[in-house]
Amino acid sequence: MPDSHTVAVLLDDALLTLNRAVGVLRRRNVPIERVALRPTATAGVSQLTFILKADAATADRVAQQFHKIVGVRDVVLAATEESTREVQS
């Protein structure tokens, strides 16, 4: 059972939606390792990506909270592959 998951949240390119999404991480005390925001190929859509230090069931619960946000278009969850993880200094 992997204890690390990569979560990609595709959301409207709007500050309020982003604020709400980041707020979920903070408010629910979600154990994250890294967080990044990048534009996507689709105009008006950004991708919030973070690595979640938690098992699959917890990752699913976190993903569900994102899915409730108006302006979130999709949530993609994947077990983090060891090779993609960087050594924390």
Partner: protein, 575 residues
Amino acid sequence: MTETLTGAQILCRTLLEAGVDVIFGYPGGAIMPFYHALGDHPALRHILVRHEQAAAHAADGYARASGRVGVCVATSGPGATNLVTGLATAHMDSSPVVAITGQVPRAMIGRDAFQETDIVGITLPITKQNYLVQDVTELAGVVREALAVAQQGRPGPVLIDVPKDVQNQKTTYTPGAAARAPLGDKNTQSLRGAPAAAPGVSASVEDGVREAARLIAAAERPLIMVGHGVIIGNAYAEVRALAEKTGIPVITTLLGISAFPDGHPLFLGMPGMHGEVRVNRAIQHADLIVGIGLRFDDRVTGNTAGFAPRARIVHIDLDRAEIGKNVPVTVGIVGDARDVTHRLAAVVQPRTCERWLAEIHDFTRPRAAAFRGDLAPETILASLYQATEGRCTIVTDVGQHQMWVAKLYPYREPNSHITSGGLGTMGFAVPAAMGVHLARPGETVWAISGDGGFQMNMAEIATMVQERLPVKMAIFNNGYLGMVRQWQQFFHGKRYSCTPIWSPDYVKLAEAYGIPGWRVKEAAELPDVVAQANDYSGPALVEFVIEQEANVYPMIPPGGSLSEPIETAPASAGD
């Protein structure tokens, strides 16, 4: 027909078109254009509260009693921040409230202008959605979307912040135009990319119902636990049909009270921290719990590690994020309480649970006598039931009286019990009851509070008088913040730090507001006084002077197991 209107006029028109007929609010600088326009829209009744918190609670009470959106209005800055407790209350209890706030003009935003506050930022975590309207052309669409978001799926509060200059801006307006964008149901959307990561959640309602029916057929000690979702989803008949077809006893959570009739042979009562011993014991012995429209809150479960150790759990909820959040489930069914329960009741095999019911009956313990003298909650509430013939809505505040009412009042009518559950907001009852009255003008509404909670929002008596809202107010006065005092007695060595609380003379207070008031000290006075207050045409107040240090029994200590209730006061070091 398209016409040119100001933003303020558009606010009034969109609310009226959506069927809103009453709003609760308080004017101020940044919302003045709206209040000016309100004068041209008499169909939109405005209730002038004495504090914006009351506007939010009243809108919440209106929403809970009517099932429709409750609307509150405030100005920018302090007006807006005063709404916050009410919005958080509505958010925790899934109540569809829409708040409209004035904001400083767009050119002033971000300059720390007079009465400027980032209310959208402040309310982000306690609203389902919120908006800062940047241009009048967006306004009608935003209001329509906000009203839809508040009600659809799992209901919740939505805030719309409208800068003052946007309220004065003009644009063309077409009545009844569609909401800004088509909306999906955010709660029940399926989650892509997580195939195996959703333990227990059934692939479809059909699969879930079939599996749940199989578990019900096989169970020896099944229970049905119902929460607020059954009330919001109007699933009373379906829950009753399921219970009666299977003989499964029914537990109602604090917010599920009145979803199943007290007095029904299958009715057990409230579980959790102040649940009766037999209810919590039933949970601890159950081998199956069918939970409908509840979230297995920590006040219900106690320590989840020890909660229902023998039971498999079927969890039916509209909000997929609730399934598996607090307790692990065997079968999770995402869907509307009414629809899913109806389908489940249709496919379950008829059965009875006679042996299990007898077993639960044997769990019954005599209720510990918490009260000396006869002016106890039992007698007060019995008088109330008699005076109202059981046909009234009771709105409670938070604390000991809330638990006594929840446990002792025999609710028969669906959705006749309204309280602040999730947030536990003291001061809720009095303003929320005003909203309940406006939603149900033909029915009596009683606001029951303790002496602490009552004093938080008692200024609203003036609102009741001015707006002619005949709310009946009952105060359980024990001279303490009773529930905190009880915790101090149990867990803090009986040090009653800052819990004795002085009250004014409530009868004189009533007189000052020009309403009748009574003080009851003896049970013998009850029937006459309660009947007089109940029958009076306007607002009325009754103070019940109850024993000072009575406790709510039994009690599961916070974080404790449902198997280990406290049934008597511990001997403290000083005793």
